[in-house]
């Protein structure tokens, strides 16, 4: 524990840091114990820091969930908090939720109301379009091409090229794919169910 004490009190380790070329395949300037201590200390520090962050995030999630319940947002909040599984037994629930609704503030699976004039697509082709947009979203955010909003590019999805451009990014993202505007939730990237039914919304004609 000498090394830890030295670190905590002075911030400096006691040994010098001179390179010794004659000590090949041996610990260079640290004793075995000190090198081991540093290694373990470092790993523990990283885990401690991120574990504290983890606990804080859990607390934050709990506070916000409690707050939304206390504010009477149970029905929408629960829909937002409860994940929608893509397993087979949940397909009937998805089917009911995906009945097209074009107006009003009907809650969507995520608890987010559909924008006016938007409905849920049933066409598998639109699912593919949504997947293309999701790929574009990934490239917009992360790719070296760094596409700007509105800038068109060509993307291949499963061997088929598509003309795509990203229109807006947010909880609901919008893209123009092959001349057609579609929307999708980023958190639901191509999360279509087993029947190919899309559960992303799209603008109705």
């Amino acid at each position: 524990m000498t090394l830890l004490n030295a670190w905590l009190t002075s911030g400096q380790i006691p040994e010098a840091t001179q390179h010794d070329p004659d000590r090949f395949l041996r610990w260079s300037n640290l004793s075995d114990a000190h090198a081991g201590t540093i290694t373990i200390t470092g790993i523990c520090t990283v885990f401690t820091g991120l574990a504290i962050l983890y606990l804080f995030m859990v607390l934050l999630n709990w506070i916000f969930k409690r707050t939304s319940i206390l504010n009477g947002e149970q029905s929408a909040g629960a829909a937002a908090a409860e994940p929608v599984s893509t397993s087979a037994e949940d397909e009937p629930a998805l089917e009911a939720a995906s009945t097209p609704r074009t107006m009003g503030r009907e809650p969507y699976q995520n608890g987010e109301p559909l924008p006016p004039g938007w409905s849920l697509p049933k066409d598998p082709a639109r699912v593919a379009l949504a997947a293309v947009s999701a790929a574009l979203l990934a490239t917009h955010l992360f790719d070296h091409r760094r596409l700007n909003l509105g800038e068109e590019c060509s993307l291949k999805v499963e061997g088929k090229p598509h003309r795509v451009s990203l229109l807006s990014v947010g909880h609901v993202n919008r893209a123009m794919v092959d001349g057609e505007e579609i929307a999708f939730f980023r958190s639901r990237v191509a999360a279509n169910d087993a029947t190919g039914q899309a559960i992303q919304p799209a603008r109705s004609a």
Partner: protein, 375 residues
């Protein structure tokens, strides 16, 4: 005639030319080829390749042109590397690009970011075993964090004479993430595990996304104050993005600002990588240790995810553990591709972004630990 001879001697064909210059010029051309033709991280490899060419043109000393000559243009730009200025600025831009909502919706993923950092410390121990002094071993170990700015920051502080090979190794391995990670991921997981579909991340409110960078900054810097330049700027950039009232600043930070600093980092790191430092046995060892570091980091994240699944009811796809390596977002994209090989409808990209951004924090904390111990 003397004047003509003097002039010829001052050109690249003069007495300053060595075989080392030729080799380094070829290395620069290889980097340009990988970046332009193969599109391996071109935003990094192209400026570095140009920098290598700039820094390895043979010339006589005293002309105030070389990067190591006082007050030359390259030397002035090198200030940002030498004094660790550029990496925190890069982190400001990265923070303005980062979205913590996936992490916030499933906090357990943050521990995968921690697990992947074991590669740093395993490599640190390995470098000590190979007779590198502690400060150099720490700089080499940080390559395993797969974070170029962090590697440059720590090397410039602890082992500036190794900055060139360490930076080149770090950025090279970042570009090779799609090559290095998939075999390790497939080796350590079964097909059944790779088919695990994770539940969709839930929506995260803006208020949470504002609170998190503030709290994250305070918590992580209390644990590792040495990481303040990096994590402070990282969370600052993220707050600019999430608060909603500084969109112009966030937009600038994640576009022109980070691109400008990226160019300067690439050019100056490349130019500082010269034959007498790069073409040595040490560099070969650094590259070898860097590969080990990456492999251990990938394995650490995947194995920790498998361990967590022993206790979790809602299983994690262990592939996303590999994204704990903080090569954002390449590791997450590799996870997406490997996951879709077994199940084309299993999109792991956004799930993998959780450990990916956690890994950025984890590698910066590790850097803070090394800085505190060996400065």
């Amino acid at each position: 005639m003397d004047l003509v001879l003097k002039y010829i001697n001052n050109t690249g064909f003069g007495s300053a030319f060595t075989i080392g210059h030729l080799v380094m010029l070829l290395v620069g051309c290889v980097f340009l080829y990988l970046g332009i033709r193969k599109k391996f991280e071109p935003l990094l490899l192209v400026p570095i390749g140009i920098g290598i060419l700039l820094g390895n043109i043979p010339m006589a000393h005293g002309m105030r042109i070389s990067i190591y000559e006082e007050n030359s243009v390259l030397n002035i730009l090198y200030f940002g590397i030498k004094y660790g200025v550029y990496p925190p600025l890069i982190f400001l831009g990265i923070g303005a690009m980062t979205d913590f909502s996936t992490l916030l919706s499933r906090p357990i993923l943050v521990l995968l970011g921690a697990a992947a950092q074991v590669g740093i410390f395993i490599t640190f121990a390995g470098a000590l075993l190979l007779a590198f002094p502690a400060n150099e071993a720490a700089s080499i170990g940080i390559i395993g964090g797969a974070d170029g700015p962090t590697a440059i920051f720590i090397s410039s502080m602890l082992a500036p004479h190794l900055l060139g090979p360490i930076a080149i190794a770090a950025y090279s391995y970042m570009a090779l993430v799609p090559v290095i990670q998939p075999p390790i991921m497939k080796l350590l997981t079964t097909r059944k595990e790779r088919l695990i579909r994770m539940r969709e991340p839930r929506d995260v409110s803006q208020r949470m996304r504002i609170i998190f960078p503030v709290a994250g900054l305070i918590i992580s810097l209390f644990v590792a104050p040495g990481a303040l330049p990096l994590l402070g700027m990282f969370f600052a950039g993220n707050l600019l993005k999430e608060c909603g009232v500084t969109n112009r600043l966030a937009q600038t930070a994640r576009t022109a600002f980070v691109d400008t600093v990226t160019i300067l980092i690439g050019l100056t790191v490349g130019a500082s990588t010269q034959a007498d430092v790069f073409l040595t046995k040490q560099s070969v060892l650094i590259f070898a240790l860097g590969a080990i570091s990456f492999a251990c980091a990938t394995a650490g994240g995947v194995l920790f995810a498998k361990t967590l699944n022993l206790f979790l009811k809602d299983k994690i796809n262990p592939l996303i553990g590999a994204a704990g390596v903080s090569a954002v977002p390449d590791s997450a994209r590799v996870v997406q591709h490997v996951g879709r090989e077994d199940d084309p409808d299993n999109h792991l990209l956004m799930h993998a972004m959780g450990p990916n951004v956690a890994g950025v924090i984890g590698s910066a904390i590790a850097a803070g630990v090394f800085y505190a111990l060996f400065r």
